[in-house]
């Protein structure tokens, strides 16, 4: 598990609004991302994740509000902000220009390496990402995963203070996925602040320390993964198999107000509550002291899918009055 240390703010998003014509992409987003953390931005397609990231990288301009990177305003000090930020786009960019090697050399020179340094750093990064053998290929010859790796290579070459990855492992195979996660963790270990936009819950659980769930341009939830899971009402499930009268068990369970609801059937009790791992002991003790023999206990916490659905899907139903 990661240890979250609330350090200095690397990225501060303040009342950020971005519209495209009549479409409101981001609607008053407020968020702080701390130095050295891996922050995950989760949300369904069109929720405003990419717009937020592209604005942080100064590619879009805020309609109102602002984003600050290490205290510098994206709106007013974009030239300085770009020294701090590097981005790996969702769709690989500029790869048709030349072969991967030439493109990365150009990129390295632009971000400040000398000619000889550029050759060295490009080779190192390409070897790290298993790209060296593809260095002279043309864009159309590269697989989707290789193109993604090239996009990420640009960030590794740049070594920015704030690295943005927009769906870094979308459409890549499992092996590459794990490789890229390691690379992202490696960047964090060097002190880089990392922002990852993803739809992949497994990926978010694997690499992100804190997560913001964004939906329809607004932040719906923010916290560590365990905090978010605790936010889901009665998200934990405790299942206890027992020997003894079901009526008695029902009475004992009813004495726990924190249990939202429960079912008992076939000598199995299913209880829905929060912080299940903390409550399980006292429930088992109460049952045992009443002579009920507990045969098996299972605690299941909500998955990040459940969290995601709760903060996006559930609200979607509420907003449409169907829930």
């Amino acid at each position: 598990m990661y240890e979250i240390i609330m350090g200095n703010v690397a990225v501060k998003i303040k009342d950020f609004v971005k519209t495209f014509g009549q479409t409101v992409a981001v609607d008053g987003l407020n968020l702080e991302i701390y130095e050295g953390e891996i922050f995950g931005l989760l949300g369904p397609n069109g929720s405003g994740k990419t717009t937020t990231l592209l604005t942080t990288a100064t590619i879009y301009k805020p309609t109102s509000g602002d984003i600050y990177v290490h205290g510098y305003s994206v709106s007013r000090q974009g030239d300085i902000v770009r020294r701090y930020v590097g981005i790996a786009f969702q769709e690989p960019k500029a790869l048709w220009i030349d072969n991967p090697y030439e493109l990365l050399i150009w990129h390295a020179r632009v971000v400040g390496y000398s000619s000889s340094e550029a050759k060295q750093v490009v080779r190192d990064v390409m070897e790290q990402l298993d790209l060296w053998e593809h260095r002279k290929k043309q864009f159309y010859q590269l697989s989707g995963g290789t193109r993604k790796k090239l996009e990420i290579a640009k960030v590794l070459i740049q070594r920015p203070k704030v690295a943005i990855f927009d769906e870094p492992t979308a459409q890549v195979d499992v092996l590459t996925k794990h490789k890229l996660w390691d690379v992202i963790r490696g960047l964090k270990a060097e002190g880089t602040t990392i922002i990852v936009a993803t739809n992949d819950m497994f990926e978010a659980e694997k690499i992100c320390e804190r997560i913001g769930i964004i939906y329809k341009g607004r932040l719906r939830a923010l916290g560590t993964i365990s905090e978010l899971k605790d936010m889901v009402p009665q998200g934990d499930v405790i299942e206890i198999a027992f020997d003894g009268p079901e009526e008695q068990v029902k009475k004992i369970i009813s004495t726990f107000p924190e249990i939202g609801h429960f079912t008992i059937a076939d000598h199995k009790a299913r209880m829905f509550l929060n912080k299940g791992e903390e409550k399980a002991v006292s429930i088992v003790q109460a049952l045992a002291s009443s002579g009920i023999k507990v045969r098996k206990i299972m605690i299941q916490e909500p998955t990040l899918d459940d969290v995601f659905f709760y903060f996006t899907g559930a609200r979607l139903r509420e907003e449409h009055g169907a829930a």
């Binding site: 590619i59 960019k93 500029a94 632009v110």
Partner: protein
């Protein structure tokens, strides 16, 4: 970002545009073929048809006038064609990549204008050399100034093109706009007809007077045949030179303004 970083960024952007030249080989081969046809078959045929006596000094015929016109129109068209490259870059998300790089916006605008202009000029270097050979004129100072003028002109046109494309943000509108502009600007200039002749049609004449193509082409003519052409040029050579520099500086400033204030990724139609 200090001056050194800015210069490095500028240099890399210029290299970027130069590296794109190989993508346009077919386009350039076609232009060169068209140029060869124009300076041989069409040029000579027109020279036989057009009476130039009484307009300029003896020994100079329409062919001398026409050669610079053809070259200027080629340089203008090739510089304008940068519009389609920029539009393509926008459509393919290339601009978003460039906007994300640690480069000042003004350096980005200048680098692309100069890089695009330089690339356009380099495409036309073989044509320029052919003209020198056809004219039999190898006056070093005239060649040097004409090359400099061609560079300034192509940088100016490219800066203008970038400004317009980034403002239009539409490939269809870009196609139509520059198709019409290419045709109009060349025609409303002294590329093929001297100012003294078109002076009979006032709107045509005044349009040609403010047209940078007129100033460029007439500057080339006076550089090589000063005495013969000075009386029919749109302005004094120094004024034409100043106009060209002003045009390049003006549109470069416009490109900087647009890139700094208005350009952002996405939204391409």
């Amino acid at each position: 970002m200090g001056l050194r970083e800015d210069l490095n960024s500028f240099y890399m952007l210029v290299l970027w545009d130069l590296s794109q030249m190989k993508r346009r080989t077919v386009f350039v081969v076609m232009r060169i073929s068209w140029f060869v046809l124009q300076v041989t078959i069409f040029g000579l045929a027109m020279n036989a048809m057009v009476r130039f006596r009484g307009i300029v000094a003896q020994g100079i015929d329409y062919y001398h006038f026409y050669l610079f016109g053809v070259y200027s129109s080629m340089l203008f068209s090739i510089s304008v064609s940068k519009a389609y490259d920029v539009a393509e870059e926008f459509e393919e998300g290339m601009i978003e990549y460039l906007l994300s790089l640690p480069i000042k916006r003004k350096v980005l605008a200048l680098g692309r204008s100069v890089g695009g202009g330089l690339a356009a000029f380099l495409f036309t270097v073989p044509m320029f050399l052919v003209i020198f050979v056809l004219l039999g004129s190898f006056e070093p100072l005239a060649m040097l100034i004409s090359i400099l003028a061609a560079l300034v002109f192509s940088v100016g046109v490219t800066g203008f093109v970038i400004s317009v494309v980034l403002s239009l943000k539409s490939s269809d509108t870009t196609d139509i706009f520059f198709g019409v502009l290419d045709a109009l600007i060349i025609r409303l200039s002294t590329v093929f007809y001297p100012a003294v002749i078109i002076a009979k049609i006032a709107p045509y004449y005044y349009a040609s007077l403010v047209n940078p193509v007129s100033h460029f082409v007439d500057l080339l003519r006076t550089l090589f045949f000063f005495e013969e052409f000075k009386t029919i040029a749109v302005a004094d050579p120094y004024l034409m030179m100043a106009y060209l520099f002003g045009f390049a500086a003006g549109v470069a400033s416009l490109a900087i303004y647009i890139v700094e204030r208005r350009v952002e990724g996405g939204g391409w139609k």
